[in-house]
Protein backbone atom coordinates (compact mmCIF):
# COMPACT_ATOMS: atom_id res chain seq x y z
CA UNK A 1 0.00 0.00 0.00
CA UNK A 2 1.53 3.34 -1.04
CA UNK A 3 -0.52 5.25 1.58
CA UNK A 4 -0.72 4.17 5.21
CA UNK A 5 -2.39 5.99 8.09
CA UNK A 6 -1.56 4.34 11.39
CA UNK A 7 -1.07 4.89 15.12
CA UNK A 8 2.11 2.86 15.40
CA UNK A 9 5.62 4.12 14.63
CA UNK A 10 7.47 3.23 11.43
CA UNK A 11 11.02 2.21 10.52
CA UNK A 12 12.01 4.67 7.78
CA UNK A 13 15.14 2.70 6.87
CA UNK A 14 13.27 -0.58 6.45
CA UNK A 15 10.54 1.12 4.42
CA UNK A 16 13.08 2.71 2.08
CA UNK A 17 14.98 -0.56 1.68
CA UNK A 18 11.77 -2.32 0.68
CA UNK A 19 10.89 0.44 -1.76
CA UNK A 20 14.23 0.44 -3.58
CA UNK A 21 14.62 -3.36 -3.53
CA UNK A 22 11.43 -3.75 -5.56
CA UNK A 23 13.25 -2.89 -8.80
CA UNK A 24 16.81 -2.82 -10.13
CA UNK A 25 16.59 0.40 -12.13
CA UNK A 26 16.20 2.58 -9.02
CA UNK A 27 19.06 5.07 -8.84
CA UNK A 28 17.70 7.43 -6.20
CA UNK A 29 15.60 7.30 -3.05
CA UNK A 30 14.52 10.68 -1.68
CA UNK A 31 12.76 10.87 1.65
CA UNK A 32 11.36 13.23 4.24
CA UNK A 33 10.56 12.48 7.87
CA UNK A 34 8.44 14.93 9.89
CA UNK A 35 9.01 14.94 13.65
CA UNK A 36 7.08 16.39 16.64
CA UNK A 37 8.86 19.47 18.06
CA UNK A 38 8.81 20.32 21.76
CA UNK A 39 7.69 23.89 21.10
CA UNK A 40 5.40 25.75 18.71
CA UNK A 41 4.32 29.39 18.46
CA UNK A 42 6.06 30.34 21.69
CA UNK A 43 4.66 27.56 23.88
CA UNK A 44 6.19 24.29 24.95
CA UNK A 45 4.38 21.25 23.64
CA UNK A 46 4.03 18.23 25.93
CA UNK A 47 2.17 16.06 23.45
CA UNK A 48 -0.18 16.34 20.51
CA UNK A 49 -3.14 14.45 19.17
CA UNK A 50 -3.58 13.96 15.44
CA UNK A 51 -7.10 13.51 14.11
CA UNK A 52 -7.99 12.66 10.51
CA UNK A 53 -10.88 11.98 8.16
CA UNK A 54 -10.70 8.24 7.42
CA UNK A 55 -11.30 7.54 3.77
CA UNK A 56 -10.69 11.07 2.52
CA UNK A 57 -7.17 11.05 3.98
CA UNK A 58 -6.07 8.02 1.97
CA UNK A 59 -7.91 9.22 -1.13
CA UNK A 60 -6.39 12.72 -1.05
CA UNK A 61 -2.83 11.47 -0.50
CA UNK A 62 -3.21 8.95 -3.31
CA UNK A 63 -4.37 11.79 -5.58
CA UNK A 64 -1.24 13.80 -4.65
CA UNK A 65 0.98 10.80 -5.43
CA UNK A 66 -0.79 10.36 -8.78
CA UNK A 67 -0.13 14.02 -9.61
CA UNK A 68 3.54 13.63 -8.71
CA UNK A 69 3.81 10.55 -10.92
CA UNK A 70 2.22 12.42 -13.81
CA UNK A 71 4.62 15.32 -13.36
CA UNK A 72 7.97 13.60 -12.78
CA UNK A 73 9.54 10.37 -13.97
CA UNK A 74 9.49 8.54 -10.67
CA UNK A 75 8.89 4.86 -9.95
CA UNK A 76 7.21 4.55 -6.57
CA UNK A 77 6.09 6.78 -3.75
CA UNK A 78 5.23 5.83 -0.19
CA UNK A 79 3.49 7.96 2.43
CA UNK A 80 3.06 6.85 6.04
CA UNK A 81 1.28 9.28 8.37
CA UNK A 82 0.67 8.65 12.04
CA UNK A 83 -2.47 9.60 13.98
CA UNK A 84 -3.40 9.52 17.67
CA UNK A 85 -1.26 10.78 20.53
CA UNK A 86 2.36 11.73 19.77
CA UNK A 87 5.15 13.22 21.86
CA UNK A 88 8.16 15.43 21.06
CA UNK A 89 10.81 13.45 19.13
CA UNK A 90 8.15 11.09 17.73
CA UNK A 91 8.03 10.65 13.97
CA UNK A 92 4.82 11.92 12.36
CA UNK A 93 5.18 11.36 8.65
CA UNK A 94 7.37 9.61 6.08
CA UNK A 95 7.43 10.43 2.38
CA UNK A 96 9.76 8.29 0.25
CA UNK A 97 10.14 8.41 -3.52
CA UNK A 98 12.22 6.28 -5.89
CA UNK A 99 13.38 7.20 -9.37
CA UNK A 100 16.30 6.83 -11.75
CA UNK A 101 17.90 10.12 -10.76
CA UNK A 102 17.94 12.38 -7.73
CA UNK A 103 16.46 15.50 -9.30
CA UNK A 104 13.07 14.03 -10.00
CA UNK A 105 12.98 12.06 -6.76
CA UNK A 106 13.81 15.16 -4.68
CA UNK A 107 11.25 17.31 -6.48
CA UNK A 108 8.47 14.74 -6.26
CA UNK A 109 9.16 14.14 -2.55
CA UNK A 110 8.94 17.87 -1.77
CA UNK A 111 5.82 18.26 -3.92
CA UNK A 112 4.06 15.40 -2.13
CA UNK A 113 4.94 16.86 1.27
CA UNK A 114 3.86 20.40 0.34
CA UNK A 115 0.48 19.20 -0.92
CA UNK A 116 -0.02 16.81 1.98
CA UNK A 117 0.33 19.80 4.35
CA UNK A 118 -2.42 21.75 2.60
CA UNK A 119 -4.75 19.08 1.19
CA UNK A 120 -4.75 15.97 3.37
CA UNK A 121 -7.36 16.14 6.16
CA UNK A 122 -5.27 15.88 9.33
CA UNK A 123 -5.58 18.19 12.35
CA UNK A 124 -3.16 18.63 15.25
CA UNK A 125 -4.18 19.49 18.78
CA UNK A 126 -1.32 20.43 21.10
CA UNK A 127 -1.11 20.06 24.85
CA UNK A 128 0.71 23.09 26.29
CA UNK A 129 1.16 24.37 29.86
CA UNK A 130 -1.65 26.88 29.05
CA UNK A 131 -3.99 24.07 28.03
CA UNK A 132 -4.95 22.26 24.84
CA UNK A 133 -5.12 24.17 21.55
CA UNK A 134 -5.79 23.36 17.91
CA UNK A 135 -2.87 24.21 15.67
CA UNK A 136 -3.64 26.97 13.16
CA UNK A 137 -2.88 26.40 9.49
CA UNK A 138 0.13 28.39 8.28
CA UNK A 139 0.04 30.82 5.39
CA UNK A 140 3.60 29.68 4.57
CA UNK A 141 2.26 26.16 3.90
CA UNK A 142 -0.21 27.51 1.35
CA UNK A 143 2.62 29.47 -0.26
CA UNK A 144 4.79 26.35 -0.39
CA UNK A 145 2.09 24.43 -2.23
CA UNK A 146 1.22 27.36 -4.50
CA UNK A 147 4.74 27.72 -5.87
CA UNK A 148 4.32 24.37 -7.67
CA UNK A 149 1.68 25.87 -9.90
CA UNK A 150 4.07 28.55 -11.18
CA UNK A 151 5.50 27.91 -14.63
CA UNK A 152 9.10 28.01 -13.37
CA UNK A 153 10.32 24.43 -13.54
CA UNK A 154 11.78 22.90 -10.41
CA UNK A 155 14.76 20.60 -10.24
CA UNK A 156 14.53 17.54 -12.40
CA UNK A 157 12.34 19.07 -15.08
Amino acid sequence: MPVRVQEQDFDAGAEMSRLRASRADVGAVASFVGVVRDSNDGASVGSMTLEHYPGMTEKSIQAIIDQAKARWKIFDALVIHRVGELKPRDQIVLVAVTGSHRGEAFAACEFIMDFLKTRAPFWKKEQTPQGARWVDARVSDDAAAARWSSTTPKAGM
Binding site: L50, Y53, K59, I92, F122, W123, K124, W134, A137
Partner: protein, 85 residues
Protein backbone atom coordinates in the same frame (compact mmCIF):
# COMPACT_ATOMS: atom_id res chain seq x y z
CA UNK B 1 -32.89 14.65 0.20
CA UNK B 2 -30.79 12.82 2.74
CA UNK B 3 -27.29 14.11 3.55
CA UNK B 4 -24.69 12.59 5.83
CA UNK B 5 -22.91 15.41 7.67
CA UNK B 6 -19.51 15.05 9.30
CA UNK B 7 -17.65 17.49 11.55
CA UNK B 8 -13.96 17.36 12.41
CA UNK B 9 -11.40 18.90 14.79
CA UNK B 10 -12.36 22.26 16.38
CA UNK B 11 -15.74 22.28 14.63
CA UNK B 12 -16.60 18.83 15.99
CA UNK B 13 -15.63 20.02 19.47
CA UNK B 14 -17.65 23.22 19.25
CA UNK B 15 -20.75 21.40 18.07
CA UNK B 16 -20.28 18.56 20.51
CA UNK B 17 -21.01 16.01 17.80
CA UNK B 18 -19.12 14.36 14.95
CA UNK B 19 -21.97 14.10 12.48
CA UNK B 20 -25.63 13.51 11.75
CA UNK B 21 -27.98 12.37 9.03
CA UNK B 22 -29.96 15.36 7.77
CA UNK B 23 -33.20 15.34 5.81
CA UNK B 24 -32.55 18.54 3.89
CA UNK B 25 -35.52 20.66 2.83
CA UNK B 26 -36.07 21.47 -0.85
CA UNK B 27 -33.82 24.28 -2.02
CA UNK B 28 -30.73 23.08 -0.18
CA UNK B 29 -28.95 22.20 -3.39
CA UNK B 30 -25.47 23.63 -2.81
CA UNK B 31 -22.83 23.68 -0.07
CA UNK B 32 -23.57 27.39 0.54
CA UNK B 33 -27.28 26.70 1.02
CA UNK B 34 -26.54 23.88 3.44
CA UNK B 35 -24.23 26.14 5.45
CA UNK B 36 -26.98 28.79 5.62
CA UNK B 37 -29.45 26.19 6.84
CA UNK B 38 -27.09 25.07 9.61
CA UNK B 39 -26.27 28.67 10.62
CA UNK B 40 -30.00 29.16 11.14
CA UNK B 41 -29.92 26.66 14.01
CA UNK B 42 -28.46 29.36 16.26
CA UNK B 43 -25.67 30.03 18.65
CA UNK B 44 -23.13 27.24 18.58
CA UNK B 45 -23.75 26.64 14.88
CA UNK B 46 -23.01 30.28 14.14
CA UNK B 47 -19.82 30.10 16.19
CA UNK B 48 -18.69 26.91 14.51
CA UNK B 49 -19.65 27.65 10.90
CA UNK B 50 -19.70 31.48 10.76
CA UNK B 51 -18.44 33.30 7.69
CA UNK B 52 -15.76 34.97 9.81
CA UNK B 53 -13.76 31.83 10.11
CA UNK B 54 -11.94 29.95 7.43
CA UNK B 55 -13.77 26.74 6.80
CA UNK B 56 -13.18 23.83 4.46
CA UNK B 57 -15.92 21.64 3.05
CA UNK B 58 -15.62 18.27 1.34
CA UNK B 59 -18.41 16.57 -0.60
CA UNK B 60 -18.01 12.80 -0.92
CA UNK B 61 -14.43 13.21 0.33
CA UNK B 62 -13.37 15.71 -2.36
CA UNK B 63 -12.66 19.34 -1.51
CA UNK B 64 -15.68 21.46 -2.43
CA UNK B 65 -16.61 25.11 -2.78
CA UNK B 66 -19.76 27.11 -1.93
CA UNK B 67 -21.27 26.37 -5.34
CA UNK B 68 -20.68 22.62 -5.28
CA UNK B 69 -24.05 20.92 -5.89
CA UNK B 70 -25.49 18.44 -3.39
CA UNK B 71 -27.33 15.25 -4.25
CA UNK B 72 -29.28 12.69 -2.27
CA UNK B 73 -26.97 10.50 -0.21
CA UNK B 74 -23.97 12.84 -0.34
CA UNK B 75 -21.46 12.91 2.50
CA UNK B 76 -20.68 16.53 3.42
CA UNK B 77 -17.82 17.26 5.84
CA UNK B 78 -17.04 20.58 7.53
CA UNK B 79 -13.58 21.17 8.97
CA UNK B 80 -10.93 23.85 9.63
CA UNK B 81 -7.87 24.23 7.36
CA UNK B 82 -5.73 21.11 7.64
CA UNK B 83 -2.58 20.95 9.78
CA UNK B 84 -0.99 17.55 9.17
CA UNK B 85 2.54 16.61 8.21
Amino acid sequence: MKLRLKFFASIREQLGCDGEVLEAPAGVVTVAALRQLLLGRGDIWQQALSGNRVLRVAVNQDMAGPDTPLRDGDEVAFFPPVTGG
